[in-house]
Every structure is written in structure tokens, then in C-alpha cells.
């Protein structure tokens, strides 16, 4: 039989967990909401403007583990979020590519001595990318491609998803050479309300630089590149609204750095990166992401 103290603690924990879903967990989800790029170039946590061939399919399986914790140690809140994201890209025309992302999510939440766990589908994303500018030269290319999409509430509302139909869009510019690749992305997420909860909109800028470490010289026998990768991500999130009221413990500005490695062959690309916050200027008591580990493999069919 549980003691009244235990019941009270459980009640408080459950109350916090409900809040965490609305605040911390969803704030964390923002960190990884754009960590899937299914195009063939090298970014680990961002997108690229480089093309997908007509009628070609690229599949990317990405694993992302994010740990978040309380900045105010006394509350001992922690959230570990693990996502296995399956992403598909399809080249409809030489300029237009379709993408779909379906995440499988596990979220472990700890509040003091109480832990809970949720597992299931996350919110799926569908988007299109259209190349508006291309400049090709010997061994280099510059591409600019806007994108737009929708995030669907395929996850469990308040558990592994936020229940709303959100839209997002932005523009990607990629400058690629045989020695290095630079991807830049500016994006906006317009998040809508569901069941009284309205996650704050967000604007993000991401930049990824990939430098070929090996081989030193490209020849006809070269079949693979080994890249060092460095990525910078900046996000500004508006405050969430719950029942029409702004949540002071949500939103804020974050800046992340993601060093990583990537191996690219003719058929597949594998990468690994660790995303760490440089600036965590979050509002109130919102949970603070400590790190994310990202790894993926993409295969060209």
C-alpha cells in the first residue's frame, strides 16, 4: 500500500509530466524536428539542395538520441528521447523532389524518483523541395531550393506527438565542390493548435560544412570520400500557448554545434555526429538539451 506521501509525489510527478509534455519534451522535439535530411549530400543534421535523380529513391535511416535536463538542479527533471527516423526521398522531376519522414519515438521522463516512458510513432512529415537555381561547373555546383511541407499528428497526442497539423517551409542553398560542401538552410515552422495546446512557432538557421579528409587526391579509382563535418544550428522558438495563455516556461533561443564524420560511397553514406548546445537561452524553467547523438545511413536505390 502506497503512503499518502507517495501518492502526493506521484500526483505532483504526473502533473509535472503533463507539463513536461507541453513544455520540455516538445521543446526538445524542436531540437530534432529538422534533423532529417534525405538528400544525397553530406549534412548530418540539416538539409541540402543537391538533387535526387528522376525516379530515384533514397532511403535514410537515422537514429537520434537527445538528453535534456533541468538547469535548476533541485527539480531533478530529465528527458531522454530516442528517435529512429525512416526517411524517403523521391525525384519526381529533375527539379522537384518529394520527401517523407516517419519517426519511431521513445521518451523516458524522470522527475525525482518517478519515471515514465512512452513509445510509439512520432509525427510524420511530408514535404517537397523545388530547385529554383542551378549553376554547374567542372567539379562544383551551386543550388538553391525552397521547400515546404506539413507535419501530421501521427504520434500519440501529448506522448510521442503534439496532435497538431503544422506547416513548415524555408530555403536551402548548397555550394558543393569535390573537396568540400557547404549547405545553408533558413526555415520557419508554423505550429498550430490542437486540444488547447499551441506550440510556439520557430525560425531556424542551419549551416553545414563538410570537408573531404580522404582521399587527398581524386582519381578514376576513387570510390569513396571520407568527410569531416561541422554544423551550426540556431533556433528561436516562440512561447507555447496553453488554453490561449502564453507559457512563460517555454521558447527561447538556442545555438548548437555538431561536429561529425561521414563516409560516402557510390551506393551509401554513413555519418555520425554529436550535437551540443553552445547557447541555451531558454525561457523560465524549460528543459535544456544537453546533447544529441545522431547517426544515419542512406542508401541510393
Amino acid at each position: 500500500m502506497e503512503s499518502p506521501l507517495s501518492n502526493e509525489r506521484t500526483r505532483v510527478a504526473c502533473k509535472w509530466l503533463a507539463g513536461a509534455i507541453r513544455q520540455g519534451v516538445l521543446a526538445v522535439s524542436l531540437v530534432v524536428c529538422f534533423t532529417v535530411s534525405v538528400s544525397w549530400a553530406a549534412p548530418i543534421a540539416t538539409n541540402t539542395a543537391l538533387p535526387i535523380s528522376v525516379d530515384e529513391i533514397i532511403v535514410r535511416e537515422q537514429l537520434v538520441k537527445t538528453h535534456s535536463s533541468d538547469r535548476f538542479g533541485g527539480m531533478n527533471r530529465q528527458v531522454d528521447r530516442f528517435e529512429a527516423r525512416t526517411a524517403l526521398g523521391y525525384g519526381l522531376t529533375s527539379k522537384l523532389a518529394l520527401f517523407g519522414v516517419l519517426p519511431l519515438v521513445n521518451v523516458d521522463r524522470t522527475f525525482g524518483d518517478v519515471s515514465t516512458s512512452d513509445f510509439g510513432l512520432g509525427d510524420a512529415a511530408l514535404f517537397v523541395r523545388y530547385e529554383v537555381f542551378r549553376s554547374d561547373h567542372l567539379g562544383r555546383t551551386l543550388r538553391i531550393a525552397p521547400y515546404a511541407g506539413v507535419r501530421l499528428p501521427s504520434g500519440r497526442d501529448g506522448k510521442t506527438g503534439d496532435g497538431s497539423v503544422d506547416v513548415f517551409g524555408g530555403v536551402i542553398a548548397t555550394l558543393a565542390r569535390t573537396q568540400w560542401v557547404l549547405d545553408n538552410q533558413l526555415g520557419y515552422d508554423l505550429n498550430r493548435e490542437a486540444d488547447g495546446f499551441d506550440r510556439g512557432d520557430s525560425v531556424s538557421f542551419e549551416s553545414s560544412f563538410q570537408y573531404r579528409l580522404a582521399p587527398g587526391r581524386v582519381t578514376q579509382d576513387t570510390t569513396a570520400f571520407f568527410f569531416g563535418v561541422l554544423e551550426l544550428s540556431a533556433n528561436h522558438n516562440e512561447r507555447n500557448r496553453l488554453g490561449g495563455v502564453s507559457d512563460p516556461n517555454s521558447g527561447g533561443f538556442q545555438l548548437f554545434l555538431t561536429p561529425g564524420l561521414q563516409y560516402a560511397t557510390r551506393r551509401w553514406i554513413a555519418d555520425l555526429g554529436v550535437k551540443v548546445p553552445i547557447v541555451n537561452d531558454l525561457n523560465g524553467t524549460a528543459l535544456e538539451p544537453d546533447y544529441s547523438i545522431l547517426t544515419s545511413i542512406r542508401i541510393n536505390f
Binding site: 544525397w40 549530400a41 553530406a42 543537391l50 538533387p51 535526387i52 535523380s53 528522376v54 525516379d55 530515384e56 525525384g91 529533375s94 542551378r134 554547374d136 561547373h137 567542372l138 567539379g139 562544383r140 555546383t141 558543393a176 565542390r177 569535390t178 560542401v181 587526391r217 581524386v218 582519381t219 578514376q220 579509382d221 576513387t222 570510390t223 569513396a224 570520400f225 560516402a264 560511397t265 557510390r266 551506393r267 551509401w268 553514406i269 541510393n300
Partner: protein, 124 residues
């Protein structure tokens, strides 16, 4: 003397095998990594009569070894590489192949050993 005879026989046999092959060196702009050039190579390999395809990213060249009956046109190649997301520039037709395809997943291409190369006359 014996080795000379063997060389002549081997030369004649390989020469017969490759006698009808030609090579297209296709200049393509915008290809920057092994992963991105692979789809173009696969598309070229699907063309009947094409035996081997290789590439050199540094020179932006895709090499195609094919039967002499296989012919490419600027329009055809422009369309093919446009669909693959790259920009076709030009091609040069050579009377002999200098590449082979090892049929591995990586589609690694190697230079043919010198003693297996057919050297037709300069008129092709």
C-alpha cells in the same frame, strides 16, 4: 619465342573480344562526389550494348565502354544528365575502351592491364 607466341595469341583473343567496342568520354558539370555520380552511371549501364561505366570526378568525366553500334547524341545525353540532376557539356568518342567494370556493388573501375588492351589502328 614461346612467350612471344603466347602474347600474340592472347593479344589476338582480347583484341577480338574488344574489337567492336568504343569509348565515350562524357564531360558533365556539377558532379562532386561518388554518391552523386552513381545514379548517372547506373542509367548509362542500363543502355543495351554498354559494357562498363566509370568516372573521374576531378575531370568531370564519365567513361562509357560500349558496342560500336551504340551511339549517343548531344540531345540524348543532355536529357539523361538533366534527369540525373547534372549538366551535360560534351562527349568525345574513342575507338578503344580503357575501362572495365568489376561488377561489384561499389562499381569500382580499374584500368585494364596494358596487356589486355586492344590497340586498334588510329582510324578506329
Amino acid at each position: 619465342m614461346k612467350s612471344t607466341i603466347l602474347f600474340v595469341v592472347a593479344y589476338a583473343l582480347t583484341g577480338t573480344a574488344l574489337a567492336d567496342d568504343v569509348q565515350y568520354d562524357i564531360r558533365v558539370d556539377g558532379i562532386t562526389c561518388p554518391f552523386c555520380v552513381a545514379t548517372s552511371e547506373r542509367a548509362l549501364k542500363k543502355i543495351e550494348g554498354v559494357h562498363a561505366v566509370g568516372s573521374n570526378l576531378e575531370t568531370g568525366t564519365i567513361f562509357v565502354c560500349a558496342d560500336s553500334q551504340v551511339t549517343f547524341t548531344d540531345g540524348q545525353l543532355k536529357r539523361l544528365f538533366l534527369d540525373k540532376g547534372f549538366t551535360y557539356r560534351s562527349f568525345e568518342k574513342k575507338s578503344a575502351c580503357s575501362i572495365v567494370d568489376d561488377e561489384h556493388d561499389d562499381e569500382e573501375l580499374r584500368d585494364i592491364p596494358e596487356d589486355h588492351v586492344h590497340h586498334p589502328d588510329t582510324n578506329g
